[in-house]
Symmetry: C2
Subunit: 222 residues, 2 copies
């Protein structure tokens, strides 16, 4: 069975989207700044159906990451903000399982992306994605709420953070609502735990610092 992996661009102050993210501003106001380092890379351009672009360590890291998933899990909020900008050929090129409360027939797009709408919760979406991915990995695309849910439940195996040296000063935080982890019957579970990660790679570039982390396990903090 493959692993569950995610990659997210994050400001120094922990935001993955600017304020007022939604249909009008898919990345939130100013949120494009978090991704400016990636737009020129060859792998990113290829995913958007474009040619050319820069190669080098940043591109190699992204290429390695995006080759791994055989299926994608995504939150409803990310789907509704992305549906229009992604256009006819979304950059996933794999089945995408959208966690939603709204039943809908699968949406088949070009380039191998089909959106499946799963109304039985994130665990069921993950189960379906694992089955679709086979031996390959499952990519957790976001948004932040769903990533938090995966972290709380211990479902995420690897996280590749792209830390951008800017303070967004507002928007959607990646790491939030993580208190009260673990056994809900334990009196220790009042937010006084922390989650240790294994840092497996740090790759620094002028505009971004990549930090790859493995398999969190929860530790009591007292």
């Amino acid at each position: 069975m493959g692993e569950v992996i995610a990659r997210l661009a994050m400001s120094l102050d922990g935001y993955v989207a600017g304020p007022e993210s939604g249909r009008e501003h898919p990345l939130g106001i100013g949120g494009e700044r978090l991704h400016s380092w990636v737009y020129g890379l060859r792998t990113f351009r290829q995913m958007q159906g474009m040619t050319g672009g820069e190669t080098g360590p940043d591109d190699a890291l992204i290429a390695e990451h995006v080759a791994r998933p055989g299926a994608v899990v995504m939150g409803h909020g990310m789907f509704i903000t992305g549906e229009i900008p992604w256009g006819d050929e979304p950059p996933f090129h794999a089945p995408v399982f959208v966690v939603t409360h709204h039943p809908r027939e699968p949406l088949v797009r070009e380039g191998g992306t089909t959106f499946h709408f799963v109304t039985e919760g994130p665990e069921r979406a993950l189960e379906l994605a694992r089955a679709a991915a086979g031996d390959k990995d499952v990519s957790l695309a976001g948004g932040a709420d769903l990533v938090q849910q995966f972290i709380r439940n211990g479902w995420l195996d690897e996280l590749l953070l792209h830390v951008v040296p800017v303070l967004a000063c507002g928007g959607r935080r990646l790491f939030d609502n993580l208190g009260g982890l673990g056994d809900p019957d334990s009196p220790r579970d009042s937010g006084h735990r922390h989650i240790e990660w294994e840092k497996t790679l740090v790759l620094d570039s002028p505009g971004v610092t990549h930090i790859r982390l493995r398999a969190p396990h929860t530790v009591s903090a007292e």
Copy 2:
């Protein structure tokens, strides 16, 4: 005139202290975890009046940083939680200007540390610290509230972050309350700005990733 510098250990999710920080838990519950990488280093041990300890890149970075300040600015909360644990010879070895609402005679400790209590606000504390430091730098010791105030006012020249690969899941965030920067009469100042930093150094060690940042300047995000 010297610069204003700060160094802070921060969890991946942005916390510089665990929950319930105060006299009982100076670093917050579990907050020691953020500093475990530093306790064994020679420079840190020297500051505490101890001998021995590890040398190497981490230690060299800390040694370079702690040699710079000629005076320190500190918030009242940090002073009251630190006063007892720091003991007779606090690790500052320089005049410390505490921003507080409570007037008090200067408190002279051993090893060159004298705490001065400044009731005229942080700008006045910084002015006094600059005068005391002469050509040397001023160290901003914390806590988070005071660092935020310095960032909002553009008083901080350099920030050395020690990013520890753990999710604290609660406590005191370093980067918070930074919305609404700049001219308060401008309708743009509703949190939709970001602050660009220049990343001048990334040094990775097994237990910590050091990121040094220079002189933020504010950019409109739209």
